[in-house]
Amino acid sequence: MSVDVAVEAVRLLDADGVAVQDDRYPPLPLPDLVARYRAMVLGRRLDDQAGALVRQGRLAVYPSSHGQEACQVAAALALRPGDWLFPTYRDSVAVATRGVDPVEVLAWLRGDWHSCYDPVVHHVAPQATPLATQLLHAVGVAHAARLKGEDTVALALCGDGATSEGDFHEALNFAAVLRAPVVVLVQNNKYAISVPLSRQCVAPSLASKGVGYGMPGVLVDGNDVVALSAVLGRAVADAAAGGGPVLVEADTYRVHAHTNADDPSRYRSQDEVHEWEARDPISRVRTYLRAEGALDDDAERALAAEAEALAAAVRAGLAEAPAVPPDELFEHVYATPTPQLLAQRDLLRAELAAEGADR
């Protein structure tokens, strides 16, 4: 990949689902695209279910990625088993697509613990809340892999707002200087809570920032899963082969509010939302796959049933909140709890025992 100022988005499907020829990026074979369509349908169902669970009071909050499913799925499925994914709080669908049990993905929003899946087993870092901080960890994991002689790639996700953070700059610069096998996917969904992109950055594009670090920066239609899969697949392959890091900007849109606590009517118009809904990433690839004969009514019915089963499993899994033992508060702070933490644990135990005795 070359180091150019990226201002034109790579697009392999137009908004109507018609294929666009681009010799630089051959599309994936149809069965692979069907797999991505499936993951997007399941991802949206998971996203909707999580939102419903917030409204029912079962989850404290949920940052939706509705409208960004192409990014979520293409990122997760671009990775090989040994690769690492570094997600943010908005990337639950990507984490689930990577194979983490959706109940484990969402349990932190039920308040069980800060992160509830095993990062080592899945090669998925805990979802990062402080913006852009996880990009540096991705560079570290990738650089360590390279020193060990492994071809592991770390793919890190962030949003447009995070590109203003110092850690975004430091991560890209470190990755470039170390030639670390890292792919950074910026999901430019146009808003950092309420603040529009124009208040973050006036560069020609976020992808164009790659020039400043001496790395390829590729702008992609973020609602075109065919283009995203081709670009990310190539970025991962190049990084794995020793080509160094790649910056990818996905031009997409956060259709829902930042979280359920947000009121988007204060900072954007419904007309704008409707415009982006018309560019829906799922219906676009669906149109294409049906036209290609890769998707029929039977397959769609089966997929719809699978999505409902997933939602039911998530509802069932989150319906009960298993007790979290208060002892655990002291258990993981250090590998071996300090004498002071053990004393504090005993204090809490005694309080709880006294509460129990009072009842």
């Binding site: 690492w84 613990w113 800060h114 992160s115 509830c116 095993d118 990062p119 080592v120 870092a125 805990p126 402080p130 901080t133 990009l135 540096l136 960890h137 991705a138 560079v139 570290g140 994991v141 990738a142 650089h143 360590a144 892999a145 020193l147 060990k148 592991t152 770390a154 110092g166 850690d167 430091e170 991560a171 610069n173 470190f174 200087v177 655990e328 258990e331 993981h332 702070v333 250090y334 590998a335 071996t336 300090t338 004498p339 002071q340």
Partner: protein, 325 residues
């Protein structure tokens, strides 16, 4: 061997890198230059650029990189060039380095050592002399170690590199070039254990890092003036060794905490509070603190007024209600 503290630290890094191929050193100027204090001297030549390397000049980046490398099986030793330069890495230290083990329920431990040359007394310009230990000690998940002798510098750094959790390793930079005898074969007490550096029956001075030498000098001078002054060296601030500290204080009934950092909301304050809570009925006088003033670190020509001195320590000892006991 007789060596400087910088030399002792260098030997500890070399010996751990020799023993464990996952131990790496990274930071600013740690490569061919050997660090601005020469603590990493010769490591790149000996172990290669993959094992000891210069990074771009960005402390948050260095810290975040080390966290990621630790997530993938390495034991990075980070050098923060000066105490105050490490503030740029604060978010990575507090939100990630300190918390990763806890937030992942023990699944991801980060064996990272953050070496911080700290404290003043070298006539340094601003931003080069801070005592930043309170920020780290206040952060659950961090282990905070502050050696006061060259033998501890060697032994504790080796322990820190082998430690399962992140260790902030505070090096008293005014002692970097002080020579002392170091027995590299000596087993120093583990991280978390304080030691009595000098026995005394009248009063216990509690110190760590560069203040230990001040406390020992005060004890020596106090002995000439007829006072028997004991000195406890904390060695590690976290974990805190309540048992050793309180046993020493109970034996004398008087305690003075000596530390270079500003006193307000400080480690010295925590020590005074702990001693008061645990030794109250053994105390013949209030626990006192001799610390730096609550001011930004002074310019070089005024720093001697700020730093705890032997005289200030002994004046404070004199004020401990001797007539009443």
């Amino acid at each position: 061997m007789k060596t400087t503290m910088a030399g002792a630290l260098n030997a500890a890094l070399r010996d751990e890198m020799e023993a464990d191929p996952t131990v790496l050193v990274l930071g600013e100027d740690v490569g061919p230059l050997g660090g601005v204090f020469r603590v990493t001297d010769g490591l790149t030549a000996r172990f290669g650029e993959d094992r000891c390397f210069d990074t771009p000049l960005a402390e948050s980046g260095i810290m975040g990189l080390a966290i990621g490398m630790a997530m993938n099986g390495m034991r990075p030793v980070v050098e923060m060039q000066f105490d105050a330069f490490a503030y740029a890495a604060f978010e990575q230290v507090v939100s990630h380095l300190a918390k990763m083990g806890n937030r992942t329920r023990g699944r991801v431990r980060l064996p990272v050592v953050v070496r911080v040359p700290y404290g003043g007394g070298i006539g340094g310009v601003e931003h080069h002399c801070d005592s930043s230990e309170a920020y780290y000690a206040h952060t659950p998940g961090l282990t905070v170690v502050a050696p006061a002798t060259n033998e501890d510098a060697y032994g504790l750094l080796r322990q820190a590199i082998r430690y399962p959790d992140p260790v902030v390793f505070l090096e008293p930079k005014r002692q970097y070039f002080t020579k002392e005898e170091v027995d590299v074969a000596a087993e120093v007490p583990p991280i978390g254990r304080a030691v009595v550096r000098r026995e005394g029956t009248d009063v216990t001075l509690i110190a760590y890092g560069p203040a230990v030498q001040v406390a020992l000098a005060a004890a020596e001078q106090g002995a000439a003036e007829g006072r028997s002054i004991g000195v406890v060296d904390l060695r590690s601030i976290v974990p805190f060794d309540d048992a050793t500290v309180c046993a020493a204080v109970r034996a004398t009934g008087r305690a003075v905490v000596v530390a270079e950092a500003s006193g307000f909301a400080s480690v010295a304050s925590e020590v005074a509070a702990r001693v008061t809570e645990q030794c109250f009925h053994h105390l013949a006088a209030p626990v006192r603190r001799v610390t730096g003033f609550d001011i930004p670190y002074p310019p070089p020509r005024l720093e001697r007024h700020h730093l705890p001195s032997v005289d200030r320590v002994l004046d404070t000892v004199d004020e401990l209600q001797w007539g009443l006991s």
